[in-house]
């Protein structure tokens, strides 16, 4: 897959993350997962998912030209 396509896919993943941040479906869910309330456990998972997408972003869609042009 070419870099511009990879970049676009990862930018799209960021938009999806932004939408997923609004977890209306867990608004009144008081169940506990691993000791954490559902609404909090979801957002801890959200942080981990964000870490994964951002890692892919810096590995596969990094603006290399910035370092090349400014050694």
């Amino acid at each position: 897959m070419k870099k511009p396509v990879r970049s676009l896919l990862l930018y799209a993943a960021l938009v999806v993350l932004y939408l997923l941040h609004n977890d209306l479906w867990l608004w009144n869910d008081a169940r506990l997962f691993f000791g954490l309330p559902a609404g909090l456990a979801y957002h801890v998972g959200f942080c981990i998912a964000t870490f994964v997408v951002l890692t892919l972003l810096v590995v596969h869609a990094w603006p290399d030209h910035l370092d090349r042009e400014n050694p």
């Binding site: 009144n28 506990l32 691993f34 609404g39 909090l40 801890v44 951002l54 972003l57 910035l66 370092d67």
Partner: protein, 485 residues
């Protein structure tokens, strides 16, 4: 014991800050942006530390006590997504421009980008004006924390004075390098102490699952967002972290990177760091209902201190106080340094010396301004009403609403100085309008709908930038050539 630990901690901070001076190269670039030499790890820790205020430690626990676990989604996980994305798209580009053109402040960049002294001056006034309440909050927060953890043994004015004195020593002597060395140490302290505090208290409560089950029986509404947070507030609160794009101290921190690649770990690990600091604070805030029910909003701000006093007094209380000081000084020193840098570069050097100042003159003036800012902040903190704490979220609102200015500067060739003027003035006018409507309430939303004022101001400032630019003459070709070669 508590006081001894705090004194030892502050002495360590001072030694680290002063020791950093051994590596000082004697240039203004070194004093103001650490000679643009920061590698990946140091950049991650110092940027994260500079953006963590005392609010992340004390305020988040108090807010969670009042509003429940929804505070994490509202203020933490949204920042974990938005802030690194701003670093990726804006921070790296600003670093490249700063390195290529030798910038030391945001105003230098905006002034040249749109070829306008007037715009530079307006942005200087707005950025410094919005930062002043933050400086005051840092000093006043330090004073009240020291009073609380020492059970009133140390008066309020001493804590603020101690913070100012320690920061003055290492910021003026060590410059940006001293600030960064101390930031790295303090951020590590903050992360470690947060974890230890959480571990000890949860253990005393019989483990996380047990404590949460008890809370589910006693205060089930703390485990859900329910009526505490409106869905529109969750959506529009995501605009607030955009403020990092226009915070002068974050902007200047970006310029300290050795290369664009140095940003990679910062961008990837930022959400993990956010979770490490915020999850314990939010959990301890809601679990405090097991021991202290019915606290007022004011008393809730010190709920973490109350939990420690109850479950782990003595050494841990001292360590927690050190952690709070770490959080306060981490952002406070960067802010003092950035305001001193801006006064030196954007006012004295630009207007007084027409950009002709020797290296040593710049460093001397920078130091004098940093001393003056600290003295003025301390004196102001003694006469300012404590209601200034309510200004915190409004400062974020102002900086976030200015975000279209930096986006247009970096990405939009057709943007003009008149667009930037229109955008900035629209922010000032609407900020004043909304603050007069709702400044007495930190929870103010438009017509109580959940919509944060920042969302409306951001839309208007974006439109003002677009319309103002399209209705005026395009920028000169030679100006564009400098920024879009």
């Amino acid at each position: 014991m508590t006081l001894t630990i705090i004194v030892v901690y502050l002495a360590i901070v001072l030694v680290i800050g002063l020791f950093s001076h051994r590596f000082f190269r004697g240039t203004s670039e070194d004093f103001f942006v650490a000679a643009r030499t920061l590698g990946p790890f140091i950049l991650l820790v110092s940027l994260f530390g500079a953006n963590m205020t005392a609010f992340a430690v004390l305020g988040s626990a108090g807010e969670s006590y009042m509003e429940g676990i929804g505070v994490f989604a509202l203020m933490a996980s949204s920042s974990g997504l938005v802030i690194p994305v701003v670093f990726y798209f804006i921070g790296t580009r600003v670093w490249a421009l700063g390195k290529r053109r030798g910038y030391l402040t945001p105003v230098q960049y905006f002034r040249e980008r749109w070829d306008s002294n007037g715009l530079g001056l307006l942005l200087f006034i707005v950025q410094v004006g919005l930062l002043i309440p933050y400086l005051l909050i840092g000093v006043m927060g330090g004073g009240s924390t020291l009073t609380q953890v020492t059970d009133g043994q140390v008066p309020d004015w001493v804590g603020g004075l101690v913070i100012c004195a320690v920061v003055l020593a290492y910021v003026t002597y060590g410059g940006m390098r001293g600030t960064i060395w101390v930031n790295v140490f303090q951020t590590m302290v903050l992360l470690a102490l947060g974890f230890i505090t959480f571990w000890v208290i949860i253990d005393k409560l019989g483990g996380l699952t047990n404590a949460m089950s008890l809370l589910a029986e006693k205060n089930p509404d703390m485990l859900v967002r329910g009526e505490h947070v409106k869905p529109l507030k969750l959506l529009t609160y995501t605009c607030i972290p955009l403020s990092v794009g226009m915070f002068p101290h974050m902007f200047i921190h970006w310029l300290t990177a050795k290369s664009a690649s140095s940003f990679k770990p910062t961008i990837a690990f930022y959400p993990v760091c956010i979770a490490i600091v915020w999850v314990p604070s939010v959990l301890l805030g809601v679990l405090a209902h097991l021991d202290f029910d019915g606290l007022s909003a004011g008393a809730a701000n010190s709920v973490l201190v109350k939990m420690i006093d109850l479950h782990a007094p003595g050494v841990l209380a001292g360590l927690l106080a050190a952690g709070v000081f770490a959080a306060i000084m981490n952002s406070f020193d960067s802010q003092v340094h950035s305001v001193g840098t801006m006064f030196t570069q954007d006012i004295v050097r630009h207007y007084g010396f027409h950009d002709r100042m020797s290296e040593s003159q710049q460093i001397l003036v920078g130091r004098l301004f940093m001393v003056a800012i600290l003295v003025a902040t301390y004196l102001l903190s003694r006469v300012t009403d404590r209601s200034i704490f309510k200004l915190g979220v409004w400062c974020f609102t102002g900086f976030a609403a200015l975000f279209p200015v930096v986006v247009a500067a970096v990405f939009w060739k057709r943007s003009t100085k008149w667009g930037a003027f229109a955008s900035t003035i629209s922010v000032v006018v609407l900020w004043i309008y909304f603050i007069t409507l709702g400044w007495k309430s930190a929870d103010y939303t438009i017509a109580d709908s959940g919509v944060m004022p920042v969302a409306v101001i951001l839309i208007v400032s974006t439109l003002a930038m677009i319309v103002g630019s399209l209705l005026t003459q395009p920028p000169k070709a030679e100006t564009l050539e400098k920024f879009f070669p």
